[in-house]
């Protein structure tokens, strides 16, 4: 068991993921712990390599960040299907759109900032509006990019990409799920954005856990509050769940790995039971997962909502752990948001 990743002083480790059987409800009997940490971008690299072996139409493009995106293995095994485009992301998006014409499935790789904001109109016109089968794969998203600072820490990308009609937006939670999502994208048709990150992070999803694009993944059953999380924040939510359990609050943890199309049914099913919601994301409070959930609630089932997200500010240099803390993305923040929202229900 790793203890270096986050100070667990407030949490009782033994209680994490305990199996609870109460007279009326049976809780999901999965224990979410980890023995290994790895970056989610390595999950992408591993998935891309496997996809390359399975499907000869899969091609990779990269803008001078092959090592950072973990695309070296694909490049080495399929040199003729790997395209180094240089530091020219706009060109890369256009090239990828063109490569789909004739049946290739391009996976573009660069940092999340340069995968979205830098090339928004190229994506909008040549990929989204033209409905091209391009998979935009984006690493180093969010504050956990760390020391490089705010210029590179994009916190607006989920919003930008989900606003594009027809764009699928996926934010997997750990190494294994990033690999599974990459593989799933090989069989998916249409434009898609896959967002992952830089830091070493707990691997807590079983490698063989099924992954279906657009289908939310309930991790822990609960009755008192629904916690919807994506990306690195899913692990934070699992940690928060243990702390909440100690306080007598049973949180339901749902991994919304696909922000778009959103699994509205799963959201409503959970919320009809718990009647209050916390959303968690490593993204601006404006435009991300929380916004999408709020829209569902507002339209179908209004209940109290709290959002754990970056509060309309840019990031800065620091270690991932420091930044998660400073920007309000720690398990403690989820715990207090849950307590607030449960109180508002009464």
């Amino acid at each position: 068991m790793f203890t270096d990743y986050y100070p667990l002083t407030n949490f009782n480790l033994k209680k994490r993921g305990v199996i609870l059987v109460v007279s009326t409800t049976t809780y999901i009997m999965t224990k979410f712990t980890f023995t290994e940490k790895k970056d989610t971008r390595s999950g992408f690299g591993a998935g891309l390599l496997e996809l390359g072996r399975k499907n000869p139409n899969v091609v990779g493009l990269c803008a001078d960040l092959t090592g950072s995106l973990k695309m070296d293995a694909f490049k080495k095994e399929f040199p003729e299907r790997f395209f180094q485009v240089g530091i020219a992301e706009a060109n890369m998006m256009g090239l990828a759109a063109g490569m789909t014409i004739g049946g290739k499935i391009p996976f573009t790789g660069t940092f999340a900032n340069f995968s979205t904001g830098r090339v928004y109109d190229q994506i909008r016109q040549s990929i989204a509006y033209s409905h091209k089968n391009v998979k935009i794969c984006a690493s180093h998203a969010g504050v956990t990019l760390g020391e490089d600072g705010a210029t590179h820490q994009i916190l607006e990308d989920i919003g930008m990409m989900k606003m594009l009609p027809g764009m699928t937006v996926i934010v997997p939670c750990d190494h294994n799920q990033t690999k599974a999502a990459t593989l799933a994208l090989g069989d998916h048709h249409g434009p898609a954005y896959l967002r992952f990150g830089r830091p070493s992070w707990p691997i807590f999803m079983a490698a063989d856990r099924p992954f279906t694009i657009g289908k939310a993944d309930k991790l822990i059953d609960g009755t008192d509050v629904s916690i919807f999380a994506c990306g690195h924040m899913v692990w934070q939510a699992i940690e928060a769940e243990a702390a909440l359990a100690e306080k007598g609050i049973r949180a339901e943890i749902i991994n919304i790995h696909t922000i778009k199309p959103l699994d509205v049914e799963a959201v409503l099913e959970s919320v009809q039971k718990t009647k209050c919601v916390v959303t968690c994301e490593e993204h601006q409070i404006n435009g991300g997962l929380g916004d999408s959930i709020a829209q569902v609630l507002g339209r179908h089932f209004p209940v109290p909502l709290e959002m754990v997200a970056v509060n309309d500010s840019f990031g800065e240099s620091g270690t991932p752990t420091q930044l998660l803390k400073k920007y309000g993305l720690s398990p403690e923040n989820i715990v207090s948001a849950a307590e607030r929202v449960v109180a508002r229900k009464k």
């Binding site: 990269c62 001078d64 960040l65 092959t66 090592g67 950072s68 180094q84 485009v85 240089g86 530091i87 020219a88 706009a90 060109n91 900032n113 340069f114 830098r118 760390g146 020391e147 490089d148 600072g149 705010a150 210029t151 590179h152 840019f314 800065e316 240099s317 620091g318 270690t319 420091q322 930044l323 400073k326």
Partner: protein, 282 residues
Amino acid sequence: MSKPDLNHLQKLATQIRRDIVRMVHACQSGHPGGSLGCTEFFVALYFHVLRRNKEFTMDGTGEDIFFLSNGHISPVWYSTLARAGYFDTKELSTFRFLNTRLQGHPATHEGLPGIRVASGSLGQGLSVAIGAAQTKKLNKDNHLVFVLMGDGEQQEGQVWEAAMYAAHNKVDNLIATIDYNGQQIDGPVKEILDLKNLKAKWEAFGWEVLEFKGNNLAETIAGLEKAKSLTGKGKPIMNLMHTEMGFGVDFMMNSHKWHGVAPNDDELKKALAQLEETVGDY
């Protein structure tokens, strides 16, 4: 222009190289390669070429101003700014740590004196510099705008939009320089996306193009002085500055490997053994 005290400037350059290596070592991140390769350029610029006011102001009215487009080489800029008196050299120890003004990539957000626009996302600095140069003209401010870019950065399309614009609009109070080190992250520029005849390209875009050796102080100063003498003649100026990534630390040279890697304790020792403390460590 007074004669430069090359001996003193060389000492400063060596000290700044020490700062760079120590800064990236302390936070175990950042970009030593390009920083070390551009050290003479920064020393020449800030300690001899720029006509600059003592106090920093955002508008930079009545002084020459500088923009760094390849923001990842922030260590050399921060050290130079501190050594030039814009802030205490002690602050260099905060580079890339939480709550620092010395962000991983240059930013205005925390108010560090010397920085006028954020950079880090490549390809944007030349456009900003051209805009600032046009403002100087509108304001009848007879001073110059300098900007530094990377050679890999030349692959960004925006650079060439700016190139076309500056020549068309006769932005002749602008001196741009390219750190022509032949390296970028994934490897040699020639292998990643060859720039081919870069001089001919800039000339074809309507710029006055000069070349000089960037790891030689006298040549760098002479090159920048020559560039200055060519301003005001209807054309923007481009310096192709030939440098060696990692210059000054033998094991960091001749490769792209040290573009963005921090030395470990052992490597730090080896590097510092090659860089004499001259005007005092921070």
